[in-house]
Each structure stands twice: as C-alpha cells, then as structure tokens.
C-alpha cells in the first residue's frame, strides 16, 4: 500500500516519501505550503489512491478540539425533558459524535483531514495531543472510552497563521509543498487539461513564471490560479500568438484578473509595463 500519486494529482518524490512514511509509521502528516499548492487536495488524493474513505474536519477560528471528539447537546435534552420524551433518560442519545470519533469508529482505517489547523486557537493542537497520539479518548458523560479500531491516516494542513506547539510537531511528519517548477507545473497541467496545445501551454507557462518573478508582488499567483487562468484562456479561445505578442503595449497578459487578485499588484504591473513602453 504505497502512495504514488494519482491520475489527477502530481506528487513529487519528496511528497511521496513523506506520505508513505506517515502511513507506515501511523503518525499524522503535517502539510504546509503557499496557498493554492494543493494541500487540501492531497488528503482527497491519498484517500482515492489507497481506496479509503475520507473524513474532513474543516477547522475555523471558533472550532474547539472537543468538537472533534464529541459534543453533548444539552439544549435538546432540556427540550425533550419538558416535552416528556422517553429518549431523555439515556444521555447517550444526546452525545453527538465528532469527526475524530467517526474516524476512530470506522471499520476500515479512513483518511482523516484536519484542514487549516492554524485557524483555530493557539491551544487547539495541544488539546488534541493525547487523542492523536494514543488514538483514544474518554467520554465523560457516558463513562466510555472510544478507541480507534484502526489508526486512521491523518493529514493536517496549516497556512502558517499561527505557530504550532513543539510537542505537537514532534509527533508529526512534516512536508512543505514548495511551489512547483516549470516541469512539475507542466505535468500538473497535463493531468488537468490533457490534450492542451503545447504551444499555448508553453506561452502561458512563460507568462506565468515571469509574472511570479516580478519583484514586489503582494500576492504571487498560485497553481490553482494558473489552472483557472488556463481554463479561461481555453474558454475564450485565446491563441498562443496573443500570449507571445509581448511587445511593450501588450505586456499585461490577457485575462490577468485570474492571476492578480490585488489592485496594488495590477497597478504595479501596469507601471512596469508603462516604463517598458517608454524604454
């Protein structure tokens, strides 16, 4: 059972090693990287490649670690008690399972994605230390210990908005998805748009990497933005010759709105184009 990438996802060699190590040693895999480099997609692709179900837990700033385990719905129990519902006598009826419980209870080990863990409070990863380490937790209300039948494959993504605690990091494998180079990008495009004209792709790649190298950009366009842009180019039937037409007046690539998401960046680009035109 080795992860080798899928027909819709290009995995680099280092990524494969990291994923396989995490799977073999049953440790969580922490993924970081520039936005739009496919951190979240990775978990889906691992699930697909290893034929396992995927359970995603999307973390928000208000998410508590406890919600991943279980929640006790006191309000509906209160309502039921006032309505005289018989269910009220069993507290287990009001325990709502979290994603972690789902993953632990699954018959076949699933892939559990904990997405954007850095969005939550600073203490969030610490609160999950024991649960992820031992793969078990205790339900206080029903005096029951939930143990993982099979250790799930855990993929955690982070956008680096908060630093994660050392104790947590020590338990993980870590992989930083670096921005793909030209060849990798070409393979990625091939996977998404098979049969795209070589000429167009070449011109688009050149324009794209030139744009990314522009000093002073606030937000550099990412892989997913490049793919969107290609889709637009294809939809608008823009030919490679239009992209290649890099005389001064046409320095800004067509449909640049898909790539530059910040008016300061567009402005910067225009200014450089203007200077180039004078030169």
């Amino acid at each position: 059972m080795r992860f080798e990438g899928t027909d819709s996802f290009v995995a680099t060699e280092d990524l494969k090693v990291a994923v396989n190590a995490a799977v073999a040693l049953e440790r969580p895999l922490l993924i970081k990287g520039e936005p739009g480099t496919g951190k979240t997609v990775l978990a889906q692709e691992i699930a697909k490649a290893l034929h396992k179900p995927l359970i995603s837990w999307h973390v928000k700033s208000t998410t508590k670690a406890q919600q991943g385990l279980y929640e006790y719905d006191a309000v509906s129990r209160l309502r039921d008690s006032q309505l005289g519902d018989a269910r009220v006598h069993d507290i287990a009826n009001y325990i709502i399972r979290g994603k972690l419980w789902d993953a632990f209870a699954a018959e076949a080990a699933p892939v559990l994605l904990i997405d954007e863990i850095d969005k939550a409070d600073i203490e969030f990863p610490n609160d999950l230390l024991l649960e992820l380490d031992r793969m078990e937790f205790f339900v206080y209300e029903t005096r029951q210990t939930v143990r993982a039948k099979q250790r799930p494959i855990i993929v955690i993504t982070s956008n680096n908005e908060k630093e994660l605690p050392d104790a947590f990091l020590r338990r993980c494998f870590f992989h930083y998805i670096k921005f793909p180079d030209r060849e990798t990008m070409q393979r990625i495009v091939d996977v998404h748009y098979p049969g795209i004209s070589r000429l167009l792709l070449n011109e688009a790649l050149t324009s794209f990497f030139e744009l990314r190298e522009l000093p002073g950009l606030k937000k550099r366009p990412s892989t997913s933005e490049f793919l969107d842009w290609l889709k637009l180019l294809l939809a608008e039937e823009i030919g490679p010759e239009l992209l290649r037409e890099r005389n001064a007046a046409k320095l800004i690539p067509p449909l640049h709105g898909a790539l530059l998401k910040n008016e300061q960046d567009v402005h910067l680009f225009e200014r450089i184009a203007f200077m180039a035109r004078r030169g």
């Binding site: 060699e13 280092d14 090693v17 990291a18 396989n20 190590a21 995490a22 073999a24 040693l25 440790r27 922490l30 970081k32 006191a74 680096n160 908005e161 908060k162 994660l164 050392d166 990091l169 020590r170 338990r171 993980c172 494998f173 870590f174 992989h175 930083y176 670096k178 180079d181 030139e210 190298e213 000093p215 002073g216 606030k218 890099r246 005389n247 001064a248 320095l251 450089i272 200077m275 180039a276 035109r277 004078r278 030169g279």
Partner: protein, 397 residues
Amino acid sequence: MFLAFFLALRAAGVKASLREFLTLQEAMRQGLAGFDAEHFYYLARATLVKDERFLDKFDAVFAEHFKGVLQPRPEAPDEVAPQELPREWLEKLAERLLSDEEKAQIEALGGFEKLMETLRQRLAEQQGRHQGGNKWIGTAGTSPFGAHGYNPEGVRIGQQGSRHKSAVKVWDKREFRNLAGDAELGTRNMKIALRRLRRFAREGAAEELDLAGTIRSTARNAGYLDLQMVPERHNAVKLLLLLDIGGSMDEHVHLCEQLFTAASSEFKHLKHLYFHNCPYEMLWKDARMHAADAIPTLDVLHTYDHTWKLVFVGDAAMSPYELISPGGAISSWSQESGKTWLTRILHTYPKAAWINPVPENLWQHTQTTRLIAELMERRMYGLTLEGLDQAMRRLMQ
C-alpha cells in the same frame, strides 16, 4: 546510526528532538528510505524538520555532513554575455542584493571578479526575459522599487544549480532559502507576530450571554431561566508606538509602514507618535512634524501610565552627540541630552522594546546603536519575523 548528523543538526540550530530522531530510526528500520540517498534525504527532512524556516539550514547541514557521498558541485558555465554595465554600480548592487552566505559562496566560485561576471551575465539574462529590462534596471536606483525592488531571487547566483539539475543533488539546490525566518515579512505575517501581544480581559458594558453563568444560576433557580450577561472579551494590551522618521530611516519607510498597518489593526489601544533620531522634550502626532502637531514628551509620560507597553521603531543611528550631549538634537535646541530623555521614558515604561529595521549584524558598527541597545538593557530586536516575535514575548513577560 547518523548520531553525528543529528548532533550537527542540533548544533546548527535545527530543533530536532530525540523523539524525532527515534522516529527516523524506526522509519529506517522499516526500510522506508530504501537504498536511495535522495529518499533518505526526504525521509530525514520530513522527520526532523518541522518548520520550513529550518529547511534551508537542514539542507546545508545535510550537504556538509554527507559531502563524501556526493560529487562536487559543477562549476558555473564560463561564457559571459557581452553586456557592459558600470562596475561600480554592479558592486553596489551586489552589496545590497547578496546575503553573506551568498558572498561566501561566490568566494568559493572564484572571488569577486567572478561574481561580477556572473552578475553581469545574470542581469543580461534578466533583460532578455523582461522586455525593456534596460529601462527597468536603470530606474531601479531611484524608483519606489529601489530598496526592495530586486528580489534576491532575480540575481541569485545559487540559481546556477537549477540549470544543471541532473548534476546537482536536491539538498545542494537550497530551494528553501527564501523561507528562512529572517526573510522579509508582509503585513499579514507581522499581524501574526503581533498577536503574541494579547491579554484578554472583559471590560465595559455587559452585552454577551454568559452561557456557563446562565446555566449555573438557572440550576440554582430551580430550573427557571436566569440570564447572565458579561462584557465582550477584548485585547486589553495598550501599546505606545514611537516611530523614528526621516533621515536615515527613509530607506526603511516601506517596512515601517507595514509594521504600522499591522499594529493599527491588531490593537484597540494604540497610540503612535513620531520623533526624529532620538526622542527629546517634544514628540509629534504627525509624520510631517509640524510645530502645531508637537506635544511635550512630559505630557505623554503623564497621560499614558506605566500599564502601556512602549515600542520604539528606529534605526538608532545618529551622530553620538545627538544622543549624549545637551543641545545635540538636530531639529531644535534641547536642554537635556537624548540619553536623559530616553532614560526618563524608559523609567516610566518598564515594558519596552526597541525594534530596529537595520539588519542585526550591522548594529555593532554604529556607536549610537550600541549605546541605545545598552540603554534598552539589550531589548533591541530586528524588524524581522523572528525579532518581532522575540520582542512581543519580551513585552509579555
């Protein structure tokens, strides 16, 4: 197995723990790396490094430690594009663009002459790629892009490697150099660093439902609802920001603006004032420093009490008499020396830090920077993500 490598990593400042080392051993025993050096590198990296800022250090240590296993790095190609650029100008550019490490690398490649050639070549290439690059490069000195316009990447000598991909080992490519912690930071990163400076407190009108309190008092109330309210949680930290403006600070304006933007959105209680070179008996509410905007420093000290935390932002570079002798201020006559005023201000605010946009390794070359760092009891930090982080931690102590 690889104990020396592990120790070398730790010596280089990569915080790998014993547990992680054991994990690596376990992974090796399970044969996850196979017999492939590259796979071993990837595996060791995924196990021992947990922060992309350390990836570059890891690569360096790895390259150093397993040097015997590798073939030497190939020499850079020799052909030089015939592109005439004034040498003086190039040297200046190199000084600004290349890190110490890169300079060392250049030494290894054949010294400064060689560097000039490579740079020249690189610039010529750049011109080829960016249409009208001539103009672009020419204006770089004075244009807004001047100070930070050139991405070191553009002129990075290390890039040589990617063109000889087949010959160079992955770890020699040092692709993660840009992720090192002292790299330039954006507003968003700064906000995150500033967020360390948080102390939540509930103050003001009770507007939020206190769920725990409501349940408690409802239970005490024999099940009849008894609502409890609490004030909203706020960041109660109060920050007094004193910014150096003008003169030698001009080249850092962009960075300081970013810091200011980040700070003003993070703190509810933020007061910012300006000074020139060193604070004396007057501070200014506005960066233009009109007389109308001036307020006496003593008023400031009396208005904002010791519960405010003080952050100076400045390069602390001035002529020594501006700091030491009375009347040394260049903008106006001051009765007392800058040092006296600084001491007085620091006396009022025990929680203080000085953030210096000048790179830390240059501080010791400026006399006043050393003096002020001493006055600050070494609470001077660089305007980098790491420096900000340390400063904020220090302020919270």
